[in-house]
């Protein structure tokens, strides 16, 4: 068998390609000749793998602005630029204080005892009790890097896992929602802001109609609220709030309606919102941890798995 194969193979050896017998050497010659092209293609493939991996939102921790080197550089820059915004920051803090004080005063100014008609003493084993479904911890953080121009905008803050910040926490500003913590290092965290094309945010109008808020890229002040039926009357200036469906605390302002447009094809109106947070000059944010969210997501995941 070996011999016949050898004879079959032999005539080719006399042809113009004497190297046919040495595939390894041919291969090396080929690589040397097209080395640049091969290197180019290899690097491009590496790039596309990186892009694909990040777009699946697996939390690419090395290549994000939460890592140590870029975090330090951004922090140095922020230390310099910080002073230029102090006046504006002060104004926003004062207005937030006023809002909080009025909300607090509203709690203290009602008394429900007067209207109570029936009094029935509760039994010791009565089933009436307070149900707690969320428990929030607020932590403040300073924004050290921020972008509004790309398709998915990220914000870097100066708090990390050492301060108890973990992934999937909600981030708020003094006036509205900001985003979600995506990746964390020990001293920095990077946040996917609401200005992104990947995620939608569940939202409701003041009468309770649910919809979802997304962002149309290119305009950092404009959000879009979809899925609201045409019959629901919405006026300019109406507020849009977060729901308790998402990981955000409920009833936070997302934005106010600026313009409404009705899609003729499926009779659904599209509302253009002016976002409550000014993403251009964010300086302080609050990172909100819901200590009971873990239990909730575990339950929800287990039910979807059973189906």
């Amino acid at each position: 068998m070996q011999v016949t194969l050898f004879f079959l193979y032999k005539p080719f050896n006399f042809s113009a390609k004497p190297n046919r017998k040495k595939p390894l050497r041919n291969f090396i010659l080929f690589v040397r000749r097209f080395f640049n092209l091969i290197l180019f293609l290899a690097l491009e493939i590496v790039c596309f793998v990186l892009i694909a991996r990040t777009n699946m939102l697996q939390g690419n921790d090395v290549l994000s602005s939460a890592n140590a080197v870029s975090g330090i550089i951004y922090k140095k820059r922020e230390d310099v630029v910080y002073y230029f915004g102090l006046k504006r920051l002060n104004d926003s803090l004062i207005s937030e204080n006023i809002r909080l004080r009025s909300a607090l005063a509203a709690y203290g100014s009602y008394d429900t005892f007067r209207d109570e008609v029936v009094r029935r003493p509760l039994e010791g084993n009565d089933s009436v009790k307070v149900v707690q479904y969320a428990n929030y911890i607020y932590r403040q953080a300073r924004v050290i890097n921020n972008s509004v121009t790309s398709e998915n905008n990220y914000i870097t803050i100066n708090r990390g896992s050492d301060d108890g910040i973990r992934r999937k926490m909600a981030v708020l500003s003094g006036t509205g929602v900001v985003g979600e913590v995506i990746s964390v290092s020990s001293h920095y965290a990077s946040i996917l802001s609401v200005l992104n094309v990947k995620r939608k945010l569940s939202a409701k109008l003041k009468d309770g109609t649910m919809g979802s808020v997304m962002w149309e890229e290119g305009r950092p002040d404009v959000l879009i609220l979809e899925d609201i039926p045409k019959e629901i009357k919405v006026f300019r200036g109406d507020s849009v709030f977060t729901t308790s469906y998402s990981f955000f605390p409920a009833n936070l302002l997302i934005g106010t309606v600026e313009r409404r447009r009705i899609n003729k094809k499926n009779n659904i109106q599209i509302l253009y919102l002016k976002s409550a947070t000014n993403f251009r000059n964010l300086q302080y944010v609050y990172v909100v941890e819901n200590t009971m969210l873990d239990e909730r997501t575990r339950l929800e995941d287990s039910t979807t798995k059973d189906k």
Binding site: V46, I73, G218, R219
Partner: protein, 181 residues
């Protein structure tokens, strides 16, 4: 100063200018809600454009990859900048060959700056590669051609502004031979 050291410094300077200054300029040329896309001028491809003539292609590719990846780390765009930069690093030699009258090996110890090849050839060379870089980068970033006019507008406006900044960089940071004599 040796060539290697000089280019290393230029790498740092270009990255720092891009990250600390230009990324914070969000340019928007006219009115508020409807209309023009927001964009950032990118000048970091200039580093690839100014590498010396006799740099081998593999070295160009590797520095391009490193440059792009550094930008990606700062801008959270894993791979997008690197992809566009590697492409222009690969095409650089061909463009230069097509553009210049002499063979590339006849320019010893020079880099394709304004001083060596003149304003007009340099502008054609840099604008071609920068427009290419921006086209690739914004297409990858947007990842759809459904909004083609928007994409085109963004590419065009951004490349023009980037070119202006590239020219400003050259006027500021390269020594003008005419002034020195």
């Amino acid at each position: 100063m040796s060539d290697l050291l000089k280019n290393f410094f230029r790498f740092c300077i270009v990255i720092l200018i891009q990250v600390l200054i230009l990324n914070k300029i969000t340019l928007r040329w006219w009115s508020q809600p409807t209309g023009f896309p927001v964009f950032i001028p990118y000048i970091y491809p200039l580093f690839i454009l100014l590498l010396p003539f006799e740099t081998p292609v593999w070295a160009l590719l590797l520095t391009g990859f490193a440059l792009g990846l550094t930008m990606d780390v700062f801008m959270n765009t894993a791979g997008m900048h690197a992809c566009a930069t590697v492409l222009i690093a690969y095409l650089r030699t061909n463009v230069l060959n097509a553009l210049l009258p002499k063979n590339l090996s006849e320019y010893p110890n020079q880099s394709p700056g304004v001083k060596n090849i003149g304003w007009m050839p340099f502008l054609v060379y840099s604008s071609f590669l920068i427009v290419l870089h921006h086209a690739v980068f914004f297409s990858i970033e947007l990842w759809s051609f459904s909004n083609f006019g928007y994409l085109l507008l963004k590419i065009l406006a951004s490349s023009i502004t980037s070119l202006l900044f590239v020219i400003a960089y050259l006027l500021l940071f390269t020594r003008q031979t005419a002034l020195r004599s």
